[in-house]
Subunit: 335 residues, 2 copies
């Protein structure tokens, strides 16, 4: 089942979306918003699935689903916490700035508490008042949980994952060093993130959803050119069950918590850092990673961060080449 | 005007509370929840004020307001960001662990993104599965904003502050060093915070609300003994206008964002660290601060962190000795 939110109020209007993303059916009579559905999932989910069946049988009124009109499935959320599960990426970034990476990073997940009061629509511009802030994309997988009790195990946590989607976790790279040096994590350096047009239930993903990971190439284009094709299921050191359990170690998580994988990153076949796509590699899911590799290999970064009018596209295709979650497609704007 | 939330759904049921906190009137016909009121404040506020007038004239049905039955005014919120505006406190903590504090800390606010998916009720226990985590209170002032546009100035930000209240920002001190060493800020070391029984509009505070600060002693008792009486209006290096503008530098803030002052802390009269109340000082708003001073003065900390069955009480009295925001009164429980 695929769920999205169309315009209508701060939390949007819940719709069930057809598997090919061409059609949708209003779900307001079941739950007005996706947050409301998640708040009462045990009761609401079976009704949404009936609606989904009716939609696929064309047995009910339906309307065209236009991704450009979609809000983020959760236009605002009560929680957004983002892991760094692809430790390969973390190791590279540290190497480039000459910082040691503790061995514990391979066993203890790194995660930050992000801002969730505004989640951008999949086609919303990335507002950038100042290009010198060093705007970067980060293509990631996210899950949405139901209620998760404090101290939950990895296995229990996996059962609490209700939806899967994609995010562009926008980062202002040039603000990060000073902010992290202050010791309290990201704040100004992480502006609003954008979500994919639809979130889907894990069963919708079939074999792609296994071991608590989403498998398959996460595709990233910048200005229409292939930039990243890394497989989200490969080199993910911590699966989503582990990430959710980590977040819930000392507190309950409320329904509708969004938990991210961190930037997807694959090693090269020979075990080294990934190569660009035009050199036969799988590319990158953020600009910082290629800059890091350029720094390691040549002493300095060459690829520039995003500038105004640059376009970023993030998606994942199914076996037939159709986007599973729709496309995140954003243009950097002056704000 | 004073606003609270009684039991009823995940977001509670909005009530207007009398100035003496003895009575309340259901506001559901105006806005079902405080979040809904904040979402449409320009339209809703005048109606709530009429209800407040009627309540004070006993012109409408009213019910007793029992703080022990109150939820947090926002039982969950879309944002909780906490500053460290009492730089005195930060300087002391750093001094105790032998870390330099950069001069920029006096001009550039320190702030972290906190978890807001569960805000504890004012009388809810503090769940503590493991005493070795080092549980501490932090008594702070909070404000709730309306929508704040990106790049807002301090002065504009002050106009977006709709409500003022108190928080107990619970911290797990023994988890903090390892977590901050990872570089991404607090996560497991900051479990759910508790909010005061009511939030109040700034005009309700009269002269206590000026220069973007709440003035008056913030009272903290531990196990019935006075522990803190520091004045929230003194030694606050960054006022709330500055804190909100700092948070909004690179992004919009959604209505209902909760922004905290950080632990209230006053220097001693002679400019040194504050003394305990039983030694004639103003005491402390968290245990870490007295432990810090003990460490600086005697080489090691003596005061222990909270243990199970310990009771924490946080409030601020008006001129007549009546709590303005009601009492946060929590007992540490096994979870």
């Amino acid at each position: 089942m695929k769920l999205g939110s169309l315009k209508g109020g701060r939390d949007g209007r819940l719709v069930v979306v057809s598997h090919d993303l061409a059609w949708c059916a209003d779900a307001a009579h079941i739950a007005p918003t996706l947050q409301a559905a998640l708040d009462d999932w045990g009761h609401v989910e079976p009704q949404l699935r009936l609606l989904d069946t009716d939609l696929s049988h064309e047995a009910i009124p339906r309307e065209r689903f236009h991704e450009r009109e979609a809000l983020a499935p959760l236009p605002r959320a009560f929680q957004w916490a983002d892991g760094s599960a692809y430790v390969n990426h973390v190791a590279l970034v540290r190497q480039a700035r000459g910082a040691e990476m503790p061995d514990s990073f391979w066993t203890d997940p790194l995660m930050y508490q992000g801002a969730s009061d505004e989640m951008l629509a999949p086609r919303a511009p990335i507002p950038l008042p100042d290009e010198s802030w060093g705007c970067d994309l980060e293509a990631e997988v996210v899950v949405v949980t139901g209620d998760v009790p404090r101290g939950t195990t990895r296995t229990e946590a996996l059962d609490r994952i209700l939806l899967v989607g994609l995010v562009n976790d926008v980062s202002l790279r040039n603000l990060i060093p000073a902010e992290l040096a202050k010791g309290f994590g990201f704040l100004q350096s992480k502006p609003a993130s954008a979500l994919s047009p639809v979130f889907v239930t894990p069963d919708e993903l079939g074999e792609r959803w296994r071991d608590g990971k989403l498998h398959g190439p996460l595709k990233v284009d910048i200005n229409g050119k292939p930039f990243g094709r890394a497989d989200a299921g490969i080199d993910m050191t911590f699966d989503f069950g582990t990430l959710v359990a980590h977040l819930a170690k000392t507190r309950n998580l409320g329904a509708g918590s969004i938990v991210g994988s961190g930037t997807v990153s694959n090693r090269d076949e020979d075990g080294g850092p990934g190569r660009p796509i035009d050199q036969g590699g799988l590319g990158y899911s953020c600009i910082a990673e290629i800059r890091t590799i350029e720094t390691i290999q040549g002493g300095k970064a060459k690829t520039e961060f995003l500038r105004r009018d640059d376009q970023v596209r993030i998606w994942m295709d199914d076996e037939d080449g159709h986007p599973i979650f729709g496309l995140i497609e954003q243009i950097v704007a002056a704000a």
